[in-house]
Symmetry: C2
Subunit: 439 residues, 2 copies
C-alpha cells in the first residue's frame, strides 16, 4: 500500500459506518444484501479486475467492499496459520430441514413479523449453519463466502482468548487474581498497572478508550492503526504495534465496577496468556482447540507488524468449523471423542458474569445478559451463551434447545444493536421449533 492510499483512507475511515455504493457518489440508502453481493457488483472479477472493482487494503473495511473482503482477509493483510492438524475431519451428520426458511418471528421493537429467510438478507448474512443435537439441520451461503472459504470472525475471536485464559486458570498456569503486571511488567505504567487478570477476562477494567466505531477519533481506530490492521495516514507517528498501544492506555476510573466492552482488553489478556505459556495466541488456539476439533480447514489470524496475533478480532475460519467449536461448548467441552475444554471452564462461562455490572453498560437488546471469560451470556431459561463480533458474526449456543448457530455476516454498520432485533428473536423462534417439532 502506498502512502498516498493512506491519505485517501484517512478520509474514508469513518466510511465504515457510512453506506456507500461502489461508485463515487454516496447512496442515500445502503445497497441491500442482494444488490451489494460482490458478484452483482463485480468486485474482484476480471483478470485483473477493473480499478473500481478492486478490493484491497485501501478500502477493505468500507461497505460494500466488505462484502468481498470479509471472506478474503488473507488476500488483504498478513496472516498467520492456525493448522487443523492432520487428524480426520469430525463428522457433522446432515439432517437438513425444509421448515426453517418460512419460520416466522417478530423482530425486537417491531409490530410486523418477518421470516427466517428474510432475516438472513436483512442481516447481510454471508453464511449460517445450524446444528441440532449435533446434526446439521440448516446451512446457507451468500455473497463471497463458500463452504470451503474462511470469513473474519471479528470479536468472536475474543471468546477464543477468553476460553484459553479460563483453561489456563483452571489448570493453574494462570492466576486470575494476580495483577496483569505479574505476567506483563511492561504494562505497569498503563491503565492495566493495577488491574487483575480476572478484571481483564471479564472486561470490568476502566480504561480511557472508546469502542465507538461511529467516531473517527475513537481509540478503536487508533488501535487499528497501531496494529496496522487499517491503513495509517501519511506522517503517522503513533504506536506501531498492538502492544505498544496498550502500554499508552490510561485509566478513567476504578477497575471492577462496570462491564465496559473494549477490544484492548482481549489483547492485554492475550499478552498475559502468551507470557504465561511462552506460546503465541495462534499457537495456543491451534494446539488446544483447533487441532482437536477435527476442523475441516485451517484457520488464520491477522497479525500486526511485529507478528502479534490480533486476539481482539483477527480470527478467520470456515463456518462449519465455527459451528464445531460451538458444539464443543454446548457439549460442555467434550467433542470429537475428547475433552477439549474442561467441563468446569464451560460451566464457569455458562454461569455468566455480574449482571448488575453488565446492566450499567446499557445494551438495550441484551436485557439481563452478562459477560464472562469473553463470552456473552443471556442468563435466560435456555441458558444461551454466545460469541459476538461486529457486522453480525456469531456463535450462538442454546443448551436447552440442543442448538448451535454459527453465522458470518457483513452488515454495513458495525453495530450489533442494529442486527440483534432481527437475529435474537429469530434464534429463539428456531430453538422453539427444534424443541417442539421433529421433521
Amino acid at each position: 500500500m502506498s502512502f498516498k492510499r493512506n491519505t485517501l483512507l484517512l478520509a474514508l475511515m469513518g466510511g465504515l459506518l457510512v453506506n456507500q455504493s461502489v461508485t463515487a457518489a454516496p447512496a442515500a440508502v445502503p445497497l441491500d444484501a442482494k444488490a451489494s453481493d460482490p458478484h452483482v457488483l463485480g468486485l474482484m472479477q476480471g483478470i485483473p479486475p477493473a480499478a473500481d472493482k478492486v478490493v484491497n487494503f485501501s478500502n477493505f473495511l468500507r461497505f460494500p467492499f466488505t462484502r468481498w473482503s470479509f471472506s478474503h482477509i488473507r488476500e488483504v493483510v498478513p496472516t498467520v496459520q492456525v493448522s487443523r492438524g492432520d487428524g480426520p475431519v469430525s463428522a457433522l451428520p446432515r439432517a437438513e430441514r425444509d421448515d426453517i426458511d418460512s419460520l416466522s418471528f417478530k423482530p425486537i421493537g417491531r409490530d410486523s413479523t418477518m421470516t427466517w429467510e428474510q432475516s438472513l438478507a436483512a442481516n447481510y448474512t454471508d453464511g449460517i449453519v445450524v446444528l441440532h443435537r449435533g446434526k446439521l439441520v440448516y446451512e446457507r451461503y451468500f455473497g463471497a463466502l463458500k463452504p470451503e472459504g474462511q470469513h473474519i470472525a471479528f470479536s468472536v475471536t475474543k471468546s477464543f482468548i477468553g476460553t484459553l485464559a479460563a483453561m489456563l486458570v483452571a489448570e493453574g498456569t494462570l492466576d486470575e487474581n494476580a495483577l496483569v503486571t505479574r505476567y506483563v511488567p511492561e504494562l505497569k505504567d498503563s491503565a492495566y498497572g493495577n488491574a487483575t487478570v480476572r478484571q481483564v477476562m471479564d472486561m470490568t477494567t476502566s480504561i480511557e478508550y472508546s469502542e465507538d466505531y461511529a467516531d473517527p477519533t475513537a481509540g478503536v481506530w487508533e488501535y487499528g492503526r497501531a496494529g496496522h490492521l487499517i491503513p495509517r495516514p501519511a506522517g503517522y507517528s503513533g504506536a506501531t504495534s498492538l502492544y505498544a498501544y496498550l502500554q499508552k492506555l490510561k485509566a478513567e476510573g476504578e477497575h471492577g465496577q462496570t462491564f465496559a466492552y473494549k477490544t484492548v482488553n482481549s489483547d492485554a489478556l492475550a499478552w498475559v496468556v502468551q507470557r504465561a505459556t511462552g506460546k503465541t495466541f495462534p499457537e495456543l488456539v491451534q494446539e488446544r482447540i483447533w487441532s482437536k476439533l477435527g476442523a475441516e480447514q485451517d484457520a488464520y489470524v491477522m497479525i500486526d507488524e511485529v507478528g502479534t496475533g490480533f486476539a481482539g478480532g483477527g480470527f478467520n475460519a470456515g463456518l462449519r468449523d465455527m459451528a464445531r467449536f460451538g458444539e464443543a461448548m454446548r457439549l460442555n467441552g467434550r467433542f470429537n471423542g475428547q475433552q477439549i475444554i474442561p467441563e468446569a471452564v464451560v460451566a464457569d462461562i455458562r454461569k455468566g458474569g455480574d449482571q448488575s455490572k453488565f446492566a450499567k453498560a446499557g445494551y438495550n437488546t441484551l436485557p439481563g445478559w452478562s459477560y464472562r471469560n469473553m463470552w456473552w451470556v443471556a442468563n435466560n431459561d435456555h441458558q444461551v451463551f454466545t460469541a459476538r463480533g461486529i457486522h453480525g458474526q456469531t456463535i450462538y449456543v442454546d443448551p436447552k434447545a440442543e442448538m448451535v448457530i454459527a453465522r458470518f455476516a457483513s452488515y454495513p454498520v458495525a453495530s450489533n444493536a442494529q442486527i440483534d432485533p432481527t437475529s435474537l428473536p429469530a434464534y429463539t423462534a428456531l430453538a422453539n421449533l427444534l424443541m417442539t417439532k421433529d421433521q
Copy 2:
C-alpha cells in the same frame, strides 16, 4: 508498513545481495548457516519480539532475515490460498537411508571433496526431501522450516504456470502459436505485442528488462515494487500492479532467437492462461494440480494489490508436497491414482528446449541444458529436469535414477550460479548411490 519504512528499505534494497549481520554493522563475511539460524539469532522470538529481532515487510528480503521470512511469507504479505481439497493424503512410504549424509562428491570447480551433509549447510538448506522409487529415503529440516510449514518456492513457481500452459495447449484450450495479444489485447503496445505464446512459454522473448538482482536499478526490482512484493519508496509513481508493469515493457531485439530468463514472462503467460480459462492462476494450480496430488497441506500464492497471483515466484508450499509434485512429473504425470498431467506434456518438457538458444544465455554451471515450458532440462543421460528458484529452491527429477529431490533454501545471495557447484554434483552422486547400492 509506514512510508518511513519504505524510505529505509530503499537504502536496503541492494542489501538482498549483501551479507549483513543482524546488527547494524555489516559483517565482512556472511554468517554461516548455523550462525544465521533464526533460533540462534533470536529472530521473531519473544512476545513481542525485540525491535531488532523483528522480521516484516521492511526487511524480509534481506539476509539473515530471509532465514525466517522464507518460511513465513504469509505473515509478511497478503496471500491467496491454494487448497489441498478434502481428499486423503497420498502416501509417501518411508525407507530412510543412513548412508547419504556421508556421501562424498567434488563440487564444480574445486579440487577437494565435500560430503552431502556439508553441502546442506553450504547451501543454507532449510529443508530437503529425497524420494527414490516413490519412497522417502531422506528428509531434513533446518532453520525456520518445519515439516508442517510452508516455504517460498520463488521461481519454482514458474514451472507450475509453464506446466499449466502446456496442459492447456495439449487439450486445445490454448494455442501456442497464437500471438499473446489474442488472449491479452492489453499487451499490444508492449514488447509482447508481437510475441507468440510459445516464445513466452520458453522464454525466448527479447525484452528490455534485467533479472540482475545485484543491480538495484534492474527491472526485476521495478517489477517487485509494481506488484508490491517489496516496499515502495516515498513518492513512488511507478506501476501499481504486476500487469500494469508488463504493459510498459519494451522489446530489445527479435523474439525467438535466444533464451533469456525473465520473470515477467511467467506473469505474461499467467495472464494469457487466465484469460484462456477464466480462472486465476491460484485457482488453476488448485484445481488441476494441488487438489489431485493428495497434498498434506494447503499451499498459497503471493498477490499484488489488485489480487493477481505472482506466477513468476510467489508460490509457497510444504516440502513433502513439492516432492509429490516432482514425483508426479517423474511418473509422467500419473500420481495418486490418476493422470494429473497428460503424459505428452511431461514428455514435451523432458524432451527439452533449443540447446543452442539456451547456450547463448551463458549459464556456466548448466552446459548442454535447455528450457522448456518453464522447466530447466539437463538433456543428459539421466534425463534430469528441474524447477529452480533463487536462493536455492529446487525440484530435481532424475528419471533414470528414479529419484526426486525437493529442496528449500535461504542462501544469502540470489544466485544459483553460486549454489549449483555444491548442489548439482551432490545430486548426481546421490543418484549414482541410489542406482548402485540398496540399503
